[in-house]
């Protein structure tokens, strides 16, 4: 991770970190290999023609890169419609394909958490008790040399 001032600002003051009392859906992105996870909480404003995410928060068990990715992506997701949020997830995943697996894993966990929260919201429109959806990442954040050691 390149530590420019913008990244440092997200490290020192992560945006949207914590829980969201008003959340109407949650989602989880998880790394099955090391137990790291990102919980995403969203509040979707429903009394609009096109529902949109008017508030979002995240919590993580993970490294600093995960926190920076969570801070940046939740800021991006705030104000988006559900389709907009799905597009954000898709665009992020495409961008991550170009990165080494260990660099991509943390951001992938956040993106999948957002996708899980949006999907949970959709499911809850039919079943209010629908449980939180969890998606697992496919990559690993362990650098190759550590895996071999």
């Amino acid at each position: 991770m390149s530590l420019d001032n913008m990244v440092m600002e997200h490290m020192m003051n992560p945006k949207n970190y914590g829980t969201l009392a008003s959340a109407n859906a949650e989602g989880m992105g998880k790394n099955p290999l090391n137990g790291e996870k990102v919980a995403i909480y969203i509040h979707v404003k429903e009394d609009e023609e096109k529902p949109y995410i008017d508030d979002i928060a995240f919590q993580a068990i993970g490294c600093t890169t995960t926190i920076v990715a969570g801070s940046m992506l939740t800021e991006e997701a705030k104000g988006l419609t559900l389709d907009g949020a799905r597009n954000l997830v898709e665009a992020t995943m495409k961008l991550l394909e170009k990165l080494p697996e260990e660099d991509a894993a943390c951001s992938e966990m956040v993106a999948l958490g957002i996708k899980a929260a949006v999907d949970t919201y959709e499911k809850r429109k039919e079943d209010r008790e629908y449980p939180m959806i969890t998606y697992q990442i496919e990559g690993t954040c362990t650098p190759k040399e550590e895996e071999e050691a």
Partner: protein, 278 residues
């Protein structure tokens, strides 16, 4: 009581951060006050456990980015006075009066404290008297963010375990581990303030401290301490050529982890024997 617990948690961290920001003799006073507030936190927590009131370690964000120390001291004073006001509704009058007396004294001292220019947020990422390569600076920065959070996390986990255990042997170990993590947190926080990258550790997720399987937690914890030792070793190697003083500091932290591992192994043995004997 829940609201007082949250506000005390916030005031404790806010006071600790003020300590990191100070360059004068006020620093130690602020650290001592933050220790007092942490003890208040544990007293309120025990009172809540005794009365069967549910609680957690959630809290609000704590804005600390100020240009002058007096701005933060005013914010802390406001928070302390809010706590004091809420103590009126406490059933345990002895506890309320003890906390209130401490608050009144602290507010008086904070009011008289000299103002200082705050340099803890400049992002220069340089330690006075130490020249590091960009790579070593980045490694040190990441280490400080990871480990300052980790030490806060450990303080909260061991504190929670201690609050929910009546085993004197285990509680002695948990208290030592809390004290050790406080020392490390203060060392790392001080270094972050000097580098202009001071930050409040983020809130921890409930599942980390509401431990269901203590044996598994201790086993994982031992592995995490071993990984932390490795990180200290890497960092010591990375800064070794540029700053032998800094390398010695990280070797010292690395060696302290051996003691933590020994304590955790001791706790694990004790817990397993206890479970076997029912």
């Amino acid at each position: 009581m829940k609201s007082v617990l949250i506000k005390t948690h916030e005031a404790w961290l806010e006071m600790l951060m003020a300590g990191f920001m100070s360059h004068t003799q006020s620093k130690q006073v602020l650290f001592d006050f933050s220790d007092i507030l942490f003890r208040h936190f544990t007293w309120i927590e025990h009172a809540m456990i005794a009365s069967g009131e549910s609680y957690d370690y959630d809290r609000g964000n704590i804005p600390i980015k100020v240009e002058r120390l007096e701005h933060l001291l005013k914010a802390i004073t406001g928070r302390l006075l809010e706590i004091d006001l809420q103590l009126v509704g406490f059933e345990d009058r002895d506890l309320a009066s003890r906390i209130s007396s401490d608050i009144n004294y602290m507010v008086g001292v904070l009011h008289e404290m000299n103002d200082e220019v705050v340099t803890a947020f400049g992002m220069e990422r340089k330690l006075p008297g130490v020249t590091l390569t960009q790579e070593a600076t980045d490694a040190l920065t990441l280490f400080l963010f990871e480990e300052s959070y980790k030490e806060y996390e450990l303080i909260m986990i061991y504190n929670y375990l201690k609050a929910h255990s009546d085993d004197a042997y285990l509680n002695r170990i948990f208290q030592i581990l809390v004290d050790e993590s406080f020392f490390h947190l203060k060392q790392f926080g001080d270094m972050m303030a000097k580098m202009g990258i001071l930050a409040v550790p983020r809130m921890i997720m409930k599942e980390l401290y509401q431990v269901e399987n203590v044996v598994a937690f201790l086993k994982d914890g031992i592995n995490e301490e071993l990984a932390a030792k490795e990180e200290c070793k890497k960092l010591s190697d990375a800064v070794g050529n540029d700053s032998p003083v800094l390398a010695r500091f990280f070797d010292f932290i690395n060696n302290q982890e051996n003691y933590h591992i020994a304590l955790m192994k001791d706790a694990l043995r004790h817990f397993e024997v206890k479970e076997t004997n029912g």
